[in-house]
Amino acid sequence: MLRIEGECGQEDSRCREEVEFVFDGRKFKGLAGEPIAAALLANGVRTLRRHEKSGRSRGIYCGIGHCYECRVTVDGVPGVRACITPLRKDMVISSGWERVAGIHEN
């Protein structure tokens, strides 16, 4: 378990609302207002996207919006930085890989 419980003052994770969201078609739970990348990491998901050409996995690097390594698609908007975008209820997030690779599953 990567989430740290308890003793964290003001914004104790236990006081925040738990919400559901979807990432690459799978349902997850996270805390409203935490960065998308934190919610995913707490669920053990580190790969946020794949490199456009090589297809190799990529995750967060700088954690504060500088490096653009963590780009995902949120509710249809591509290029959203997962490290600085707060999670909201029922967000639909994708790594955008299907589109890039030309795989259309549905």
């Binding site: 990567l2 740290i4 935490e34 700088c62 954690g63």
Partner: protein, 422 residues
Amino acid sequence: MKTDVAIVGAGPAGLSAAVFLAQKGLGVTVLDEYFIPGGRLLGQLFENPQKPPGERLWIGRDIAGKLKEEACGSGVKILTGTSVWNIAPGRRLYLSGAVSGEMEAGALLLATGAAERAVPVPGWTLPGVMSVGAAQVFTNLHRVRPGKRVAVVGIDPLAISVAGELKKAGVEVVGIYLPPPGVLTGRLGMPPEVIGSLSRSADMSPGALLKAAAGIFGGRYRDLGARLCGLSTMKIWGIPLHLRRAVVRIEGEDSVERIVTAGVSHCGRQQEECSAIDVDAVCISGGLYPLAELASLAGCPLVDVPQLGGRVPLHGPAMETPRAGVFVAGNITGIEGAPVAMAQGTLAGAGIWSYLAKAGKAGEKELELAASRLERAREEAPIKFFQEAPEGRKKISLLWAGRKQNPEGGVPDGPQSYSVPL
């Protein structure tokens, strides 16, 4: 959009200035691209054994929260999720993000803080590799651990501090290592350099981390001549600190699975590789540098001062730059800890107030008070990032004094741009 004072950066420097200025009755707008105000304070969580019990724990997130409340309570407008991407003459700011468009300000404070230097380690694009800054923010602010078993690459005060913070949060830190030797890492990968700078930190810094380190580095290792023989691994808070071992590769299929390390000779040459160590995350530290691009766009001359971490805007004793009405505060002027940034913010606030309100004698008094508080904050600093910082600051004030007497000489500067009435 118009505002009396625009402040770029809602870190400890920007927020402290905002509080000061709003309390003087000025209209203040603070802009920050992160979605929570607080800057690098947000991720800070450490103990300062020098303080009396009860005040030892430094919880950056709470301090940031208090500063934000104080600012908002005094009427400061904080625009988060908003980047400033250009500054044109006349203190015209160009914004994008949550708020976009242009903003014109009577005075401008650049408090953009510091950024982390990247150190490329083969395999560093694998998910699970992140900067120590990211690890700090995820662990201490968002309360999610970067991994279960983590290696730290880079040996400097911030890396060691974050390693301790990770351990406190229940992460197994397998060790702190040198970056791979080579041209890209330069001095960061040389054992004598690393030991030398660490031991100087330990000598002078009374802080949490360095207290632990002082015990280790004191005495015979204090001398950088570092009779290195024999000294290769030591422990800090139970975490192995490998002074002669580098992470040369990070491996894994879809995310981090292991690191490969190798010995490093006295002169920084890579020796034989050792068997791999299983980890699920790696945190890389390459040191900090002042984030001064905006100052340069605003036409402020930058000066290269390695003792302060890199290029910093030339500034005077009231944090003014040669550009009329443009001020700087915090880590943009050199890498120091948060209490120093706060004191610098207040000083810049006093400078801006004097400038805008033509505050005369009253302004001078505020400046004097703020300057003495800044000095005290420096004396009490729990972490000193650059031991030669006082020399660096001296260089800046000499250059500043020089350009006042001889505006033509030395530092590039626009004509008549010096108009701060102090």
